[in-house]
């Protein structure tokens, strides 16, 4: 989680002049280049993707296939495992919990993060530096370190076995990276735009709603995707907070399922593939938009 967080803290500075316009300019007369490059690239992609493919493809096999020949392709392909998982209410219940938690956390992180980043980026006041440092230091507090006392705080608030007990701390822990990504972004909005809105008679809050939100949309998309994927994959916090299977999110569900059906490997693989799918799809769909958005961002 913290790595995701801080990694993207670099992206606004590092990525603005990445593909889009460049590849357009460079590659118009498409050249194929060095075959060795493709060989190494394919090899590397193979290493990265093969284990994931093993999980996905394994879900199309039967248990006897897996036992007699663990590393082979399905023969014949069976859809029964996936169908069984897709029919199970457990899967859909956990899926719904994951969606609720991820959407609520993302919304909270984006809204609160945008508000506080706006203050840090565009207001002048004495505690501004301290405020920024407070959030920047937050990158050093991963959830694992504070998990026991966090659990106690959540318990005292009566939020154990409640999705809110996952959502609220996730928002708090998601704020540091949001602030670190959005502050430079908001600062890059030219002063002229703020002045123009002021001339139009808008207050600074009017500026915030009318100009900042639309102009910072690409940064918000980046932050939002990272928050969504981070929440979708979070394991430690749900592990502590959610006890009843009805409240499980998918990561807990995968673990519970794989210990409950430890003999039914094929179904475990199917369940696992379906659990990772949404995060993968969200990320792949938006990957270009993240980079493209940062490229097209307003520059000061």
């Amino acid at each position: 989680m913290s790595a995701t967080a801080a990694g993207s803290w670099l992206s606004p500075t590092a990525e603005p002049n990445t593909p889009v316009d460049r590849s357009g300019r460079r590659d118009t007369p498409q050249k194929w280049g060095n075959p060795f490059t493709y060989f190494v690239a394919l090899l590397f992609i193979g290493v990265c993707v093969a284990p994931v493919l093993y999980i996905v493809v394994g879900g199309f096999r039967t248990n006897s296939q897996i036992t007699t020949n663990p590393a082979a392709l399905p023969h014949p392909w069976v859809a029964g495992n996936y169908a069984a998982v897709l029919r199970s209410t457990t899967f859909w219940g956990e899926f719904a919990n994951s969606v609720i938690v991820a959407l609520a956390s993302t919304a909270g992180i984006v809204v609160l993060g945008l508000m506080v980043s706006f203050v840090i980026a565009r207001y002048d006041f004495r505690l501004k530096g301290a405020m920024y440092s407070l959030f920047a230091a937050g990158l050093m507090f991963p959830m694992v370190i504070a998990i026991t006392p966090l659990y106690i705080v959540i318990k005292d608030l009566g939020l154990i076995d409640n999705l809110l007990g996952v959502i609220v701390p996730q928002i708090a822990f998601g704020l540091p990276m949001t602030v670190i990504i959005l502050v430079p972004f908001l600062r890059a909005i030219p002063n002229e735009i703020e002045e123009a809105t002021a001339i139009d008679g808008a207050s600074r809050l009017g500026f915030f709603f009318r100009m900042v939100i639309p102009l910072s949309l690409p940064g918000v998309v980046t932050v939002g995707i990272l928050a969504f994927v981070g929440s979708w994959n979070n394991y430690v916090l749900p592990l502590y907070v959610l006890n009843a299977q009805a409240n499980f999110t998918l990561p807990l569900g995968v673990q519970a399922f794989s210990s409950q059906y430890s003999t039914d490997t094929a179904k475990v693989l199917a369940f696992t593939s379906l659990a990772m799918l949404p995060a993968l799809v969200v990320f792949s769909v938006f990957e270009k938009r993240i980079v493209g958005g940062l490229t097209g961002a307003v520059k000061g």
Partner: protein, 344 residues
Amino acid sequence: MSNPLGTDTATGRRSRGASPVGGAAPATAPATAPATPRAAVRRRGRGKTRLEIAVLSGPAIIMFLAFVVFPVALAAYYGFYRWHGYGAPTDWVGLNNYRLILTDHAFQQVLRHSFLIMVLSLLIQGPLAIALALLLNQRIRGRSLIRVLIFVPYVISEVVVGTGWSLMLQSNGALNDLLRSSGLGFLQADWLSNPKLAIWTLIGIVSWKYIGFAVILMLAGLQSIPDELFEAAQIDGASYWQIQRRITLPLLGPTIRIWAFLSIIGSLQLFDLVYIIWGPYVSGTAGTSTMAIYMVAQGRNAGNYGYGNAIAVVMFLISLVVALLYQRFVLRRDLQGAVTEGVS
């Protein structure tokens, strides 16, 4: 602003606007115009500005203090007690928990594991990621598809990675089967439970999971280096390797240093993968237990919450010291941008 018509409409609107000083600015002085609205906003009242600051930043700060800072402080407080998690802690033991940590062989062992993972993550992922990024930075087709694919292991959750790998690495799992059928049967091993091997398996899985992140960072860093530098060097007759050594690597420095920082902090906190693949007990016998695993094993699983929290504090202090040293000696120049930018 150079267009006189535009200036006119702008000032005209301003005088009609809510800004009290707007009307006073003469339309003949367009050069001062941009400064006026700011002054107007400032003069509109400090109280209002303060209220805005409070309303906009209040919720985030309260959340952050309540759910991040307060629990961390609480961990430090519980670390001074012998406490089993029921009711308020009453058995004050001072620094006893910390004295215990210093002599705890199990802790020293997990500390060694964590440092081994940290060092090897840097040594394995760093050079490999730089090499791959250099290679993938060339003009090749399907670059964006490649980017998405090498990010796959990083985007999927630790639970999925753990579940998948533990199935593949079982002694009768896919990897051993693959080795047997491809004539490399002598390489078959008990990847997960052999205590001599398990830590290396873990390091392999960690490298697999996180190297995509390093490659993407390096690629982004490479693409922010202006093409003109390479072109100039080429014109001067520099060879490919000279260009990489003299231009690319130095300019990639900040990216490499920040990646290393993130990798160090991440390795010291490693928890999910180990917990999912081995669990808190087996990881102890398989020799893959990390500081965070030991903390949870002591706290939640064995009920020694006071001791568990003391371990959390030690973990935090180790991360803090490493981070501060790293910032002081390595990152100083790079972070200056990130930190002072926020303050200026």
